[in-house]
Symmetry: D2
Subunit: 341 residues, 4 copies
């Protein structure tokens, strides 16, 4: 059985495990106050080009989204997101659970459109009864999106300008950021993202770590006592060192980018193979998630040898499936898939 199920099927990049072993018996304070976390923070500040950035390490994506969003919104505000945004679909209502509405915008291959965002805001404040409605208080984008697509720098900058105009923070969910940064279609660096967004997170779980996401507030703009908000939401790891060591390793010698590069290279090979085989793509994704349209019978057959996600049932016997590469995908996995197809 070969696995293209997702980018969190295997353990951690070997350098991470090695570093965990090396440091195992060194005593350190808890809750992110350890020297590993401090070192990792400094490296992330450098990588982002933001010497004053505040960096917090959380365990997983859903909790990160919930903590960041709920601590930055006022009670009467909601968060704007694509209708396919992770927070709107696959987080079991984690945002609503903190008391806030997700205000859905149409999606375009997983992305929101700056024009439609501005239109939503314009209409909101034009509505005579807007005080009876949920205020748009923040914009959430995922990059890469849930469909593997990427914002171009110009697009993200436009969204950022609209946010500033309406005094709303812009939050970028970078659960798969490593793959986004290394995509051939990316025209943004980490510094660009840090310059445009008010807050974003650098995903570890899906990019070679056992767990962990690094939240970055580029301009010392974290909500006061953000650590207490993290604790209150059960997202403050006692052995914060586990996160610090991992991110310190990922941001040493550009390992984070190297992992991204490998995942993208594997995805490119996969795309080439699938195109050769004539598989129809559901959409064009430049990152490590690829969406195919198969006949239901093909899906059943393929399931016997390959693990993958069933994404969506289409009409008349067709299904969208998702194949994902990662830091641990090997060239031979793709070759084997080629033989099977």
């Amino acid at each position: 059985m070969i696995s293209f199920e997702n980018d969190y099927t295997t353990g951690a990049h070997p350098q991470i495990l090695q570093r965990l072993s090396e440091t195992n018996f060194q005593a350190a304070p808890g809750y992110g106050m350890d020297p590993y976390c401090e070192s990792a923070r400094e490296k992330i500040r450098n990588a982002c080009g933001c010497p004053r950035a505040q960096v917090f390490f959380l365990v997983g994506g859903t909790q990160t989204n919930a903590v960041v969003i709920s601590s930055m919104l006022k009670g009467h505000e909601g968060v704007v997101a694509a209708e396919t945004g992770h927070i709107n679909v696959h987080e079991a209502g984690a945002i609503e659970c903190t008391g806030h509405k997700v205000l859905a915008l149409p999606e375009h291959s997983g992305k929101i459109d700056p024009g439609e965002l501005e239109e939503l805001l314009r209409k909101f404040y034009q509505d005579e009864s807007y005080e009876h409605m949920v205020f748009p208080g923040m914009v959430y984008v995922s990059h890469p999106t849930e469909y593997g697509t990427l914002y171009q720098k110009k697009e993200l900058a436009q969204i950022g300008e609209i946010c500033r105009k309406y005094r709303m923070p812009l939050f970028l969910d970078g659960a798969r950021l490593g793959y986004g940064l290394m995509s051939k279609e990316s025209d943004m660096t980490l510094q660009d993202i840090a310059a445009i967004c008010d807050v974003f997170y650098i995903g570890g779980t899906k990019v070679g770590a056992l767990c962990g996401e690094a939240v970055v507030f580029p301009n010392q703009n974290a909500p006061r006592h953000f650590l207490t908000a993290v604790k209150q939401h059960g997202a403050l790891l006692a052995k914060g060192r586990l996160l610090g060591i991992q991110f310190d390793t990922l941001f040493t010698d550009d390992l984070y980018l190297e992992i991204g590069r490998h995942g993208i290279e594997m995805a490119e090979r996969l795309k080439t193979l699938l195109k050769e085989k004539g598989c129809p793509f559901y959409l064009e994704s430049p990152t490590n998630q690829q969406f195919l349209i198969l006949k239901d019978s093909q899906v059943e057959e393929l399931k016997k040898y390959v693990s993958f996600s069933v994404w969506e049932k289409l009409e008349e016997g067709h299904t969208v499936i998702r194949l994902v590469t990662s830091w641990s995908t090997r060239p031979e996995d793709i070759e084997r898939l080629g033989e099977l197809l």
Copy 2:
């Protein structure tokens, strides 16, 4: 510098790291659906003597308390706990954040008294306006408590009977359960706990794991769709394997108890040493947390060589400090402390 700061200062028990390495490249499904989790669940069921138990792995204690409590309470109910209970003091209001009040009972060396619990319940239902008050809907005990103390089996059974009488679940927070089970003053096994409680968790973070707590519903009595509640609270780890592998290791060849035994042995040596040195204890603790009363000047002096927690300022220049042993405490650490005192 030697550390008695807490039981989560170091990494993980070496067998855990080794097992993480061995399994690192084996692909497995996410979210706890992997074979490691399944194996760990089965071993925990055996250890608890509950073949039908439902076992869930969460990342940390605060989130575990919040998810378990909020998913078992009705909207109009609160949870009864000792005033010093972790959920009432040191979780930044995580329970209230889910909408529920913590109903505090007086503490007796960290424990609640069955008689006072029954009195609270009797008075509640006797009050003419109880429908305008928060209903006691659940009882929370920590074992060992935040002060290292233990419930005797008879006491816990009494609390359990009161809970059944009033149809409230009894929840035991076992963040440090391993040390409790191996204390010389313990008269309870894991099976006893599983027989008395409606839900409890077996702490991993403080007993040799990198992270992780195993929630056990002994009688297939988990709330429906508990997994979705876990996800909604951001407590469902994508790489659930990280938790499964750890608990599978901890419950192989009684490693969990062995770690507890070691922590207790080190604590006993520490107590002996401190008694020899004439240090006054704040209270008598039979587990791995020891509380001393020092003069403020002594505290300042000791801080130069030893890391520990300052627990509470007392009157007139005295302070309560806490020293904690763990799986990774070495006999030489205690010897060195002896030299320093």
Copy 3:
């Protein structure tokens, strides 16, 4: 200035004020335990043909929706509603504030379609990752809808069957129920509604009362300690008598239906007038809310003499406005409007 702004512009039906005066000095217990409330409950039970119904009086619609929905949903569930449903748009996120998502269905003149509801449910349980999503846990319909339209008995019964099949309660928001029951296009009685729905409320505020909504659980199926939920949400009126006296009056000699009848008669005259004048309707409404499409210049002109709601800006200089009749609309108000147009 004549007002068609809404159905809560004036005070209360004179019989209500008179009854408030008559009873003013009679002492009565608070919180709905008074004899007026008891009498009103009995009359509502009779009117609904449900001798075992539980009836609670709350103050306003938004709080009623929030209390009913949040006390009937489990934590992992959300409520299904039309995208134009009041709870999804004009209640400032009151449902999300209680921790639950509103799952929006497309609207058809303000109504949900039974087929689309069933499709949503079928797709939900077919999705491999439904445990990571918000469970549809309840269906909310408003009748009349926010656009004044009505469900036919057959439609509502279909929705009810789907709800039973998926074990979800069906909740009907009857803020304007009186006008709905007396519409010429209505084929449902109060008894029909009580037979189909699991819970509904009979709106008082918009049908002649100063304030107040009567929540009916037809089959003794209120959540346990619902009164405490009402109190917790700040929706339990101390002088419950104010609500009891009003509903007792409304359900004496069919005053509630008489008020509905008058509002409908005024609406019919209004429609006739507007059709004579050639005003284009935005949609066909059989109740007391009428939606017109005017040129922006006409809107500005009309505003000088008539108060009404601006509903929505359309393209190219057109606007949807809403005119509403009520228990206090007088024939001469409509005549005067005719002169103005």
Copy 4:
């Protein structure tokens, strides 16, 4: 049967009913945008000596407390209150339901002690782990308290200074403010209260209105979009006129104070009577709530002729009962009670 059960047993002061009748057919905008509310606001600003005050009308006390507190606290903060404070006992957990902890201080005849408040704050920030605890973010006092007692101006000013020092708003719950202002032991005017507090409410429900509480932010310091918070919590009355007319009447010709004066005069007569009869008082209350200690047998006997609240069971066959006077208590009610005793 004569009633001393509470101060909300009867309807409204006759002048209020009369004014409701007079204005009944005048159309007015909803949601507090009507001219009656505007006039009432202006009169309240004058009475408070705060020309810039923002005034909002809500329906009841519990909702007012929940909306004010939750909209002024940050997520990581709780509200400090006496352990007997209404929000801590008799509001069914309404504050926790909004996600915030009530931090209880000891009570002294229902009041908090400024010294103990300062000590709590000092200890909090001295605690090494305060970031893991709920921050004290606001102080709540009730005046008169739940035991009818009053803060002296000096005491309240001290509390206010402590609040300013720690940058916490001070909130005064004036559900029975009218009786407090007219007590012979009061040394505070409404202007004093407005000068000391950051926010307070003037209770209507218990001081002659059918319902309604007026929230005052003396220095234009309401949270932004407070109206939306009110709406979101279901506390925005559609027919806001009902509240506006009532408060406009109460603040015309000092009716509010006149009602308070009458309640106090009746309470004084009651106290004199009870002292003559040798009834032991539970505590000394200078306002309209009086607490007596009776034998259980006396309680049973009295219940046959008088309605009152059973407050608390004491040891050995004694019970605390509460007798309350109000705007509608008549001298003959007290005479009749004298005959019965």
